[in-house]
């Protein structure tokens, strides 16, 4: 076991893929000479050369689309976006092409491609640069969506995403790149579609993903002070969602709080809440609780931005009101 950052975990997974599979290449804006907007591919161009590490012009629709085509032709492109907010420029290619092409060709064509993108608010980047579109992409059949919260999951999910024969959206919480964690030196993968119980508990199930997890951990500590035992679920995959694991847990605890770091309205947690209601409704001791970011465009001002985001006090409040805990 070694302790590494989430950034290093991604670097390890990407290097490995480049070294082991000649069909894998990485492309994106300023990933080569510049080393990547968040320095994930720093040093890669020097090491692997311009065929494997392809700098692109600022043409998201163009290079995402070209990635899809090259995947359809049998290559395994990993496309890096500077921000998931910029996925909108290539959305037509992602949704109409990458996600649909297998189905509408009657299964003839696969798109074994990974689109990696930093996501999330909290850095005062304003409305156009702070969004979390991984939750939009969950609605699209044909795409898989994963969002790791720690270095171990980042590496394990990256390995299986690159191997996966389908297009995978790999959402990286920009605020977590420096987060450290233990990563096994032995090879392992983390199956897409499998959530993880990060902590077992009996009174309430706390569910989140990505940068919601550090907040959920704090909530759990607060609850422990009140002698409330919480079970923590890290979704890891947002599409498909591990409903079995979620429902088993909620049926045991009888309570659920869902934390979305994206905007609350129309988020992935609304979907999970409905599923829990349908499959575990009889086991519930009260309403399913949901906390998400405010339904406003992201403001620049720090105080406003922090206020728009979920927070430990907001979640504690919700739990106190919902379950009188």
């Amino acid at each position: 076991m070694a302790e590494i950052t989430l950034r290093q975990a991604l670097q390890k997974g990407l290097s490995e893929a480049i070294e082991n599979d000649p069909d894998v290449f990485i492309m994106g804006e300023d990933i080569g000479a510049y080393g990547g907007a968040y320095a994930i591919t720093s040093g890669f161009l020097e090491k692997y050369g311009p065929d494997r590490i392809k700098d692109t012009p600022i043409s998201e629709a163009g290079f995402i689309g070209a990635g899809i085509g090259s995947a359809a032709a049998g290559l395994k492109p990993i496309v890096e976006l500077m921000s998931i907010s910029f996925s909108l420029v290539g959305f037509d290619q992602i949704v109409n092409m990458a996600a649909n092409i297998r189905y509408m060709s009657g299964g003839q064509i696969n798109v074994p491609m990974v689109i990696r993108a930093p996501t999330g608010a909290g850095m005062q980047l304003g409305a156009t640069h702070s969004q979390s579109f991984e939750t939009w992409l969950c609605e699209v059949p044909g795409l898989k969506v994963v969002a790791p919260s720690n270095p171990k999951d980042a590496l394990g999910l990256l390995r299986s995403s690159i191997k996966d024969p389908n297009p995978v959206i790999f959402a990286e919480s920009a605020g977590l790149y420096g987060t450290k964690g233990e990563v096994s030196e032995e090879y392992y993968e983390i199956e897409i579609g499998k959530a993880e119980i990060k902590q077992e508990g009996t009174d309430i199930t706390l569910i989140s993903y990505g940068h919601g997890i550090p907040m959920i951990n704090k909530v759990s500590e607060e609850l422990a002070k009140k002698n409330v035992s919480s079970e923590i679920i890290d979704l890891r995959s947002l599409s498909p969602i591990d409903y079995d694991l979620i429902n088993n847990s909620v049926q045991k605890t009888g309570r659920a709080l869902l934390l979305d770091t994206a905007r609350k309205n129309g988020g992935v947690m609304a979907e999970i809440a409905t599923n829990i209601n349908e499959d575990s409704g009889d086991y519930l001791d009260g309403p399913i609780l949901r906390v998400g970011s405010e339904d406003v465009p992201w403001p620049y001002n720090r105080k406003l931005e922090q206020h728009a985001m979920s927070s430990v006090p907001k979640i504690m409040n919700k739990i106190e009101q919902g379950y009188s805990l």
Partner: protein
């Protein structure tokens, strides 16, 4: 151009320079946050070109927008307060550096998605044409933005509809860490792209404020009189990194040094003095008044209030 005109151009360029230096300083101190893209080195472009516009004309630009905002005459108090995230900021502290707006001055943003400002700008031009007004829309963008589909789509639309729009390309030879050589398919100037859409184009030395002003005036006059769109390419250089996060390792310092020799904020006052247009003392007076204005702007930003929490959900809808 008389003495006052010269001193005014200098005043604006020096104001942008000091404003940007102050931004850099206040970013290091943590008063300004998020992404901050400075305009240092490119002052002559915004100042010369905007000087040729009229009040009724629209300006639309990208995230590197402080220079255009100052050249347009947005208040330095309101701009600095915006960067400090204060309620007195031009966008009430909600937009930040990349999203500056002042609709009273027809300054329609500050847009941070590369290329997204171009179709929007065509819309302002369309409205002018529709209302049979003779205002012109000026849209600023960088060399990197020419790679976006929106640039090409908008040029074609503007050409087909003969819109009163000027595409103003600030070629500073880098889009983040990517030099123009690496993204121009034919190794030629960007003007060729415009020609492909039947749009006339002109290249101007973006380090020469008078050349920028005169070229822009000529082009804007033509566009205003109903000849359809035009493109101006100003060659220029940003002396610092792409943003505060960029150490600019992808270029040689000798390249930066070469361009610094043409620094308009240094060379223009030298020209004014050596041509006996104004005296050294008059230049010093301009400097002093700009320094006072900047000190006042930082003070104003520092002392202004943060927006109150209720404002979070204000202005989502009308």
């Amino acid at each position: 151009m008389n003495k006052e005109d010269h001193l005014d151009l200098y005043r604006k360029m020096y104001l942008i320079r000091l404003f940007e230096e102050s931004c850099g300083e206040n970013y290091s101190k943590g008063f300004i946050r998020g992404f901050l893209h400075l305009y240092i080195g490119q002052e002559a472009v915004a100042v010369g070109s905007i000087d040729s516009l009229e009040e009724k004309d629209y300006i639309v630009t990208h995230y590197r927008d402080h220079g255009h905002a100052i050249a347009r005459g947005l208040s330095t108090n309101g701009l600095m307060a915006e960067l400090f995230g204060k309620e007195t900021g031009v966008s009430k502290g909600k937009g930040g550096s990349m999203h500056l707006f002042d609709s009273e001055k027809n300054f329609m943003g500050g847009h941070a998605i590369v290329g997204a400002q171009m179709p929007l700008a065509a819309g302002f031009a369309l409205a002018s044409q529709y209302r049979k007004e003779d205002s012109v829309t000026m849209v600023y963008f960088g060399d990197g933005a020419t790679n976006q589909g929106t640039f090409h789509e908008t040029m074609n639309l503007a050409s087909v509809w003969k819109l009163p729009i000027v595409f103003f390309l600030e070629n500073n030879f880098y889009g983040m860490g990517t030099s123009v050589e690496r993204i121009r398919s034919n190794g030629k100037s960007f003007s060729n792209m415009a020609e492909g859409y039947g749009i006339p184009s002109t290249i101007v030395d973006g380090m020469d404020v008078i050349a920028v002003k005169e070229t822009t005036k000529e082009v804007v006059d033509k566009v205003r009189s109903g000849n359809g769109p035009a493109l101006i390419e100003a060659t220029t250089f940003r002396f610092q990194g792409h943003s505060m996060a960029d150490p600019a390792k992808y270029r040689e310092s000798s390249e930066v040094d070469e361009w610094r020799k043409k620094d308009p904020v240094e060379s223009f006052p030298e020209y004014i003095i050596s041509s006996n247009i104004a005296s050294k003392e008059e230049i010093e007076d301009v400097k002093k008044s700009v320094e006072d204005e900047m000190n006042a702007a930082v003070k104003f930003a520092t002392e202004s209030n943060e927006p109150d929490l209720e404002s979070l959900s204000k202005d989502v809808y009308l």
